[in-house]
């Protein structure tokens, strides 16, 4: 019989479309896509502009924004995350006007309120090639 394996923390599966985003995250930069034709900025990464199907450039976000909504996950779907509960799962509206799903970390995260200013920080995962874009409350 196979031995029961310890659950592993899930990490992003990088594909061709979002590879530049994850390479950026590994250099601690939060990258967005910008349409070469109409100038629309979009997130999450896609193959073409969602408005005009134009070709895309990558631009660097300032990594700042505000809390749009948040929840404290107390029962993670993947039990490997039990050591992190409660996980401060957040929606952030970046100053470039795109919405991002992420998590809030840092010592003062318990103080979070709707509309709070946040800044991006990057958390190393167990895979050396992957850093997770997370956020901290801005002072």
């Amino acid at each position: 019989m196979a031995e029961a394996r310890m659950p592993q923390k899930s990490i992003p599966k990088v594909n061709k479309v979002d590879q530049p985003f994850w390479e950026g995250a590994n250099r601690e930069k939060f990258l967005l896509q910008k349409c070469k034709s109409c100038g629309k900025v979009q997130f999450f990464p896609r193959v073409a502009c969602v408005d005009c199907f134009g070709e895309l450039d990558w631009i660097e976000s300032k990594g700042t924004g505000k809390i749009h909504s948040f929840t404290l996950v107390r029962v993670p779907r993947n039990p490997a995350f039990k050591d992190e509960v409660p996980i401060y799962y957040i929606n952030v509206i970046l100053d470039e006007d795109v919405i991002v799903e992420s998590k809030l970390i840092g010592d003062n995260k318990e103080k979070v309120k709707m509309g709070d200013r946040v800044k991006a920080v990057f958390q190393q995962t167990h895979d050396p090639a992957i850093k997770l874009p997370c956020f901290e409350l801005a002072e």
Binding site: H68, S69, T71, V73, R74, Y89, N91, I99, M114
Partner: protein
């Protein structure tokens, strides 16, 4: 869904008691449905005190996975008449995929049901619907769909719930058999529960929880709500009993 519920509460002043009233009304319906898994009474205190799962979502906001299967037969009128004398007709239906897909700042408290409702209610009047079977992965999803379908204004779902009796004997019967919240969610078959319950009501076969005037029913389904954009499919249909 926790992110969406918090936004709804923040933006529109919706209370936990208003959201809880949906779960409690559905439990009341389930108590009269022999096929429901959860048939014990649920009070507002029970709802509010249930274990926190992902704030502000509590245990009694969540469906329980269960086993189950459904089957319905769709046939031409001639063929159907050979099988049954209780025919139920499809009146109208609508569906949308990838709602708000190109919107970088989607309104998370509005689902594709908004577009679906506009299409459905071009064909039929809201007041001609006797009962609604609304996809209920969480009570807040029911409230949002009531708004999106135009039974009240966006943000007034809490007031709507306060003003109506949602049980099978009430003036706005919702999820008359208990919905997925109190019957259980049989995996991907869960969505069919609403269709089957509507058919039972219209065929007068809703043992113990029959809605008195059940001539016309609205049934909804929602797909994924990933990134708050409802990137899956949203659908609804109206069925009616004819002589």
């Amino acid at each position: 869904m926790a992110l969406i519920q918090r936004l709804h509460m923040e933006q529109y002043g919706t209370t936990l008691e208003q959201i809880g009233k949906i779960a409690i009304a559905q439990r009341e319906n389930a108590r009269n449905n022999p096929q429901a898994l959860f048939r014990e009474p649920m009070s507002m205190q029970d709802y509010l005190n249930s274990r926190m799962i992902s704030d502000p979502i509590r245990l009694f906001d969540c469906v329980m996975p269960c086993s189950g299967a459904e089957c319905i037969i769709l046939a031409s009128e001639d063929r159907a008449r050979q099988i049954t004398d209780k025919l139920i007709y499809l009146v109208t239906d609508a569906e949308i995929s990838h709602y708000q897909v190109a919107n970088m700042l989607p309104d998370k408290t509005t689902f594709g049901q908004k577009v679906v409702g506009e299409r459905i209610f071009k064909e039929i009047k809201r007041e001609d619907i006797d009962l609604v079977e609304i996809y209920d992965d969480y009570p807040i999803a029911v409230m949002i769909q009531i708004e999106d379908l135009g039974f009240c204004k966006k943000g007034d779902g809490g007031k709507f719930v306060d003003a109506h009796d949602l049980t099978y004997t009430g003036d706005f019967p919702v999820n008359t058999g208990g919905g997925e919240l109190s019957v259980g969610q049989a995996g991907l078959a869960g969505g069919y529960l609403h269709l089957v319950e509507a058919l039972r009501q219209l065929r007068r076969e809703a043992e113990g929880h029959q809605v008195k005037k059940a001539e016309r029913a609205l049934v909804t389904g929602i797909g994924w709500l990933n990134y708050g954009r409802n990137l899956g499919t949203t659908a609804a249909l109206v069925m009616e009993r004819r002589k």
